[in-house]
Amino acid sequence: MFKKVLVANRGEIAVRILRACGERGLRTAAVYSDADRTALHVRYADEAYRIGPPPARESYLNIPAIIAAAVAAGADAVHPGYGFLAENEHFAEAVLATGLAWIGPPPEAIRAMGDKIAARRTMIAAGVPVTPGTDIGLTDAEAIRAAEELGYPVLVKATAGGGGKGMRVVNDPADLPKSLAAARREALAAFGDDTIYLEKFVPRARHVEIQILADSHGNCIHLGERECSIQRRHQKLIEEAPSVAMTPELRAEMGAVAVRAARAVGYCNAGTVEFLLDRSGRFYFLEMNTRLQVEHPVTEMVTGVDIVKEQLAIAAGRRMRWSQEDIRIKGHAIECRINAEDPYNDFLPQAGRITSLSEPTGPGVRLESGIYAGWEVSLFYDPLLAKLVVWGENRAEAILRMRRALAEYRIGGIHTTIPFHQRVMDSTRFQGGQFDTQFLDGPDGFRMSATPGRALERVAAIAAALIEHERGQEAVIFGASPAGERRGMSPWKQAGRIGAMRPR
């Protein structure tokens, strides 16, 4: 096994990996940008190395700086987490060229799956079903013709895209030019490449993905599926395992196809094969994520397999401890992504200081978090603050448990997606499992009402009046003089008075 692992990431996933290393007795090294000096991953690592200023380009995407940190630390392995450089084969190659182990798939597998078009061809050759689509590098005019041939709705996809960026569903030929332009702009800004292609859009489909584990001894198994249909603009918000749409037969079939897909590119380590699953049980390969996935904990909670610890063992050349027969799905797990976004205001990203924090705990609750009270959330990075994961004996218990965990979760100082998740858990459509990827975005989709339910309106009114009253009383204590005149007051006296008042 390794002696010291450098984690080339930040936030909750860096913390997750640091914990796994610590629990295997491995020393850990973190890297940080100037925005992250006091981040949780820096505090929890054994060592920490500065890699640059806040912008990701100059820090977490800065390959030479990260390699230099790994060398300075004397690390013998690098875990890339997800995002940033996780699916950058040049980074993987640089790590290997430095003589360090890469805790991820071979660079060739990253490359084979990273080129979406080549991947589609490889999959077709391996007998993996894919949706009909075009070649890459279409001009707008070619795209308009191709869309007619495929038939609407179509999906505009940036070749370099990912995480929902540079992707647009087009239902109406009239919207295509505008969508092409938007997808190109986004892809150019995010990835420096505005190459696009089209795919047939499968309506009313679910996004179901299969977790894969493969070792360097030729063993490859799947850990069942994750249901990831609750998305907003192709960004997953809620994931669960198992999927309500799954039968044991279909799981075995999709699992076998996913293993075939992984083997087709010589895969090794953890990976995820994403599929669209339509209402009649047909499924289509979407893409393979050649890295640890954000939502891996739901699989861990229903299978009992610690995927990150398996990654470490596989990268160290160990044989997998599990065969396909060992994998049993037990109970139900749900994950809610807690983002610094305002669900009442079109999910606009939020920045600011977390002034107070109460985290849910207790039976069946697992929190993967990168924040603490006092932490400053910046706009430099992804808005994901934490993942709240629950396990229940069955889906009903998991939903009830998630409701109570969300109700306990208090993040003060910034708006988060917690109220959104509370609404989804209360939604009968979600509870019934009757949803697809259009649940949030579609015409009959789920909406956060601008005017929330009236149930607690009176309580809110009373609370506001009481707080206003209390503040008024404090103003009286300070004297009713305007702010400018208060300045002469002793700071000590004032501090004492503030301390003596209500807050405990």
Partner: protein, 168 residues
């Protein structure tokens, strides 16, 4: 003290005479509100019902409270009697809809401005596209009206809270 708390166009009259008993539209409630470690989280007992109330720090001096309770967010305007009388008098002098400033909710890059001064817009109509976090965000009109000024142009960087467009 008498207060008027307005939520979703509904106004509650709240009289606070005793520290632990209040009248809400004439009905008595036993109340006990306690701040929890700061001034953002409160424990409210209302006739023994236990509520946790989270106050958004944006709640400012104008007695406008952004309150999260039971997973629901409410914007509550609180006025005491005097403030309410002044506001009512004020309303009689001005038109109900004044000028409205559309501000940047986050720092970002203006990708496109979709309206021009003098243009009539409906509620929910897109006004401009703001790129932040590498995602394009459409800013929509919060109400119907006529575009008065457009203070930004495409490809400019804007700061949080900066006025982008004014609406009349």
């Amino acid at each position: 003290m008498k207060y008027y708390a307005t939520v979703n166009d509904h106004t509650y009259e709240i009289i606070i005479e005793h520290p632990d008993r209040i009248l809400v539209d004439g009905v008595e409630y036993h109340v006990d509100v306690q701040a929890i470690n700061g001034r953002q989280l409160y424990s409210l007992l209302l006739n023994n019902a236990s509520h946790e109330v989270v106050l958004d720090p944006a709640s400012d001096q104008k007695s406008l409270y952004d309150i999260l309770v039971g997973g629901q967010r409410y914007l509550v305007k609180v006025q005491d009697e005097r403030a309410r009388r002044l506001a009512l008098a004020d309303r009689n002098l001005k038109s109900p809809d004044g000028e409205l400033a559309i501000r940047a909710p986050i720092p970002g890059l203006i990708v496109k401005v979709l309206v021009t001064p003098g243009q009539a817009v409906a509620e929910g109509e897109p006004l401009l596209i703001l790129e932040a976090m590498k995602m394009e965000n459409e800013l929509r009109s919060p109400r119907g009206g006529v575009i008065h000024e457009v203070r930004v142009e495409a490809r400019t960087q804007v700061a949080q809270g900066q006025t982008l467009i004014t609406l009349r």
